[in-house]
């Protein structure tokens, strides 16, 4: 329960009087407030700085150091104050958590120092408020990565026999710094990529003349040498691709990835060339296929982080680029049309058609101005100048916007993903907290049953019981208990509910079992006996298997295994209540 809300508990309990005339059962007794202590100020001395607060403020969170009796260990009898030999700066945040219910993370603090302090005071960092949670998580992740990097460089020489051969190979491919072999492989492939690219380039350079024929490019002069080089590179690339395919944890995903497509496209032309050497018609197409060899240069992106980031940012700015392209196309079409009609009149005009004018428009708008096409008429020149002026605007304006969008969108994408993941985690935590509090109630109800039974017998055991749950919690549970009595229904946890649903539809839950609402003379006995009846009425463990199977068709509720809860215990809900549960259960054993 949140901090200040604990202060509203008296109000909620008082408002429960509104249920009284409606209820038909008598209400359970309120937990006695034995410790009628007046609210007192306590002094917390943290490394010399004194903080003062009310005792009840600290007791709002009984499962932390300051809220429980654990702080008694730090009580100094001589000065009548609690002394903590810890950092007073962080203590300020911790104390504000008790006061306001929100835990903040101060940005100037070191993240691990803060974590240590929280651990000391028994506060989970998950409850940091929304305002500071993102910052906290970011810093924590950064720190963890830094530590992990340090660890990695330390453990570089250690061998990990636990990983399979395939996994080690994949790790070596992805991260060349893991072993020397991986590093060697990395440099070798890099070298061969460079060789291949340079070969492709040099192939086309004119290499001097062979006596008796015209100038030949190097590729045709030393064709054997170049062929050998090409073969060697392609063999290396093929081997690399096959190795990566073998080592990939998910082959299907690997095949679909961009890098593997680039690999395939880079080596395909060679094999296709091997296959179809003689066919004359196709050799023309084959020549153009060699163009794809230039894709080998993209293989460098595995070797360069920067290339990868560039590719990613281009991808994420696709819409911006698309808009730029679209507006450019619009402008080009408009000006081309205008220039065409303007120059139609002049003789020997180069503007033979609108598509022919496209070239002029593009060259003019990008301020290149080759001069191979120039307007001759006056109208043409006027529109030509308008075209070049607007070209400057159309191109120069969006580009800075796009550039700034790059970084903004890049960071935003990353932050949005982070926030989405965090939101899921937050909702899960809130759900856990909610079920925690309701489970706490269900749990203490079981304990409370014993308390009441013992009270009826006259044994003053409640003092022991009272210590396991704080006064505020027991009052809250009493409130929930009153609501149960008012409506004649009880709270149960989800598992039991689903089991009951299942079993009720299986056994045609008899209506006689539903609590009758007419008043009975001996209401106390009916209510109590109904509760005891409930503990014995639990799903039988010897249901025929066929009925279970038919039930699976009827309901989509996941049937939880074959284990059935025993008669007197129910599955313990949360770990935080485990100690209480164990205490409760041992008490049962002793006093049965």
């Amino acid at each position: 329960m949140a901090a200040g809300v604990a202060a509203w508990l008296p109000f909620a309990r008082a408002a429960a009087i509104g249920w009284m005339p409606v209820a038909n059962c008598p209400m359970p007794l309120a937990p006695a407030d034995k410790s009628k202590r007046q609210d007192e100020l306590i002094v917390l001395n943290v490394s010399g700085r004194r903080f003062q607060t009310w005792r009840t403020t600290l007791e709002r969170y009984p499962d932390t150091l300051l809220g429980s009796t654990e702080k008694e260990f730090f009580f100094n009898e001589d000065t009548k104050e609690y002394f903590f030999d810890r950092d007073p700066e962080v203590f300020r945040c911790v104390l504000n958590f008790y006061r306001t219910g929100k835990l903040h993370y101060p940005r100037y603090e070191c993240i691990s120092a803060y974590d240590d302090e929280l651990a000391f005071y028994g506060i989970l960092p998950e409850i940091i408020g929304d305002c500071c949670y993102e910052e906290y998580k970011d810093r924590k992740r950064e720190n963890a990565e830094r530590l992990m990097d340090d660890n990695d460089s330390e453990n570089n020489q250690e061998s990990m026999p636990s990983l399979s051969f395939r996994q080690t190979m994949w790790r070596a491919f992805e991260n060349p710094h893991t072993s020397t072999l991986a590093l060697v492989f990395y440099y070798v492939t890099g070298f061969f990529i460079a060789v291949s690219v340079i070969t492709n380039v040099v192939e086309t350079v004119p290499c001097g003349t062979v006596p008796g024929s015209k100038e030949l490019p190097c590729g045709e002069r030393y064709s054997v040498a170049f062929f050998c080089l090409d073969t060697a590179c392609v063999m290396i690339f093929t081997v690399e691709y096959l190795l990566r395919l073998f080592a990939a944890p998910s082959r299907y995903r690997f095949i679909r990835s961009v890098m593997s497509i680039i690999d395939v496209v880079a080596i395909m032309p060679y094999y296709i060339g091997l296959v179809m050497t003689n066919n004359e018609d196709v050799s023309g197409a084959f020549v153009t296929l060699r163009v794809f060899r230039v894709f080998r240069i993209f293989k460098f992106s595995r070797h360069s982080q920067g290339l990868r980031i560039l590719g990613y940012t281009l991808k994420s700015c696709a819409s911006e680029l698309g808009f730029l392209l679209f507006s450019l196309t619009m402008a080009i079409i408009i000006f081309a049309t205008v220039m065409f009609y303007a120059e139609k009149g002049s003789s020997a005009s180069k503007f033979t058609s609108i598509p022919a004018s496209f070239w002029y428009t593009i060259v003019t708008m990008t301020t290149l101005g080759y001069g191979d096409m120039v307007p001759k008429t006056i109208a043409g020149k006027i529109f030509g100048s308008i075209c070049s002026l607007s070209g400057v605007l159309v191109i120069a304006l969006p580009v800075p916007v796009i550039v700034s969008n790059f970084s903004r969108i890049y960071h935003q994408n990353q932050r949005a993903d982070k926030r989405r993941a965090q939101k899921k985690a937050r909702l899960a935590r809130i759900r856990v907290a909610k079920t925690g509090s309701s489970n706490a109630y269900l749990h203490s109800k079981r304990n409370g049953l014993l308390t009441e039974a013992l009270e009826l017998m006259g044994t003053p055991e409640e003092e022991h019981m009272g210590k396991t749950t704080s006064l505020i919690e027991s009052q809250h549970h009493h409130l929930l208990h009153c609501l149960e009595k008012t409506t004649n229904h009880e709270f149960i946890d989800e598992q039991m509910f689903e089991q009951n649903c299942m079993e009720s539809s299986m056994q045609n839950y008899p209506s006689t079992r539903s609590p009758s609402l007419s008043s009975h003379p001996g209401l106390t006995t009916t209510c109590c006996s109904r509760r005891s009846k409930k503990t014995t009425h639990l799903p039988n463990s010897n249901l025929p298997a066929t009925r279970l199977r038919s039930m699976q068709e009827l309901s989509t509720i996941h049937i939880q295994g074959s284990e059935q809860p025993s008669l007197t215990t129910r599955p313990l809900p949360t770990t935080s209540n485990e100690s209480q549960g164990i205490q409760g259960k041992t008490k049962v054993k002793c006093h049965k």
Binding site: G18, F497, R513
Partner: protein, 197 residues
């Protein structure tokens, strides 16, 4: 546009309650109790008044399994005696004073006021059904035995059987008080929260 202005107004309003002595005279609480209550109140609502949204939020924290917004709405109307859409500390204390320190008569009066949604002096079956549904909503879905659709209606029938003496379909304040005083359970449970503060 109005809501924006309203919001601004509410944001700048800093309601200060009456002096401590005056409140002490008007309610049945001691000074110390009033101090404790005010501290809690001011902590949750620094502006000094509670509006319905905050009220619903606070109340729902106590009933995690169900939906307590409808009942909180009725409660809010019961506390907001001057119907200005906000519960100030004085309203709060007035209500609490009746509930925790009042006579049984006053408490029953307060309960009748809660059930009588349109404050016309009669509880009709529809009003009672709304209240009952709101109470049952707070239980949520996971109950034992499983909540049936007509459980609130049945409960209302029982209530009217008990309370409506002349069977005219409405319960007046006199019928209500008379019937409650005859029921021992109700009388006993009214005393339940005496020592809450």
């Amino acid at each position: 546009m109005d809501s924006v202005e309203d919001e601004l107004e509410m944001a700048t309003v800093r309601h200060r309650p009456e002096a401590l002595e005056l409140l002490e005279a008007q309610s049945k609480f001691t000074k110390k109790e009033l101090q404790i209550l005010y501290r809690g109140f001011k902590n949750e609502c620094p502006s000094g008044v509670v509006n319905e949204e905050t009220f619903k939020e606070i109340y729902s924290q106590f009933f995690p399994q169900g939906d307590s917004t409808t009942y909180a709405h009725f409660l809010f109307n019961a506390f907001d005696t001057d119907h200005n859409g906000a519960v100030s500390f004085e309203d709060f204390i007035k209500g609490l004073s009746i509930l925790l320190r009042g006579t049984v008569q006053e408490k029953l009066n307060w309960a009748f006021n809660l059930y009588d949604i349109n404050k016309d002096g009669y509880i009709t079956k529809e009003e009672m059904l709304d209240i009952m549904k709101a109470i049952y909503d707070m239980m949520g879905k996971c109950t034992y035995p499983v909540l049936k659709e007509d459980a609130p209606r049945q409960h209302v029938e029982t209530f009217f059987q008990k309370m409506d003496k002349n069977k005219d379909g409405v319960v007046t304040i006199d019928e209500f008080i008379e019937s409650c005083q005859k029921d021992e359970n109700i009388m006993r449970s009214m005393q339940l929260f005496e020592n809450v503060i």
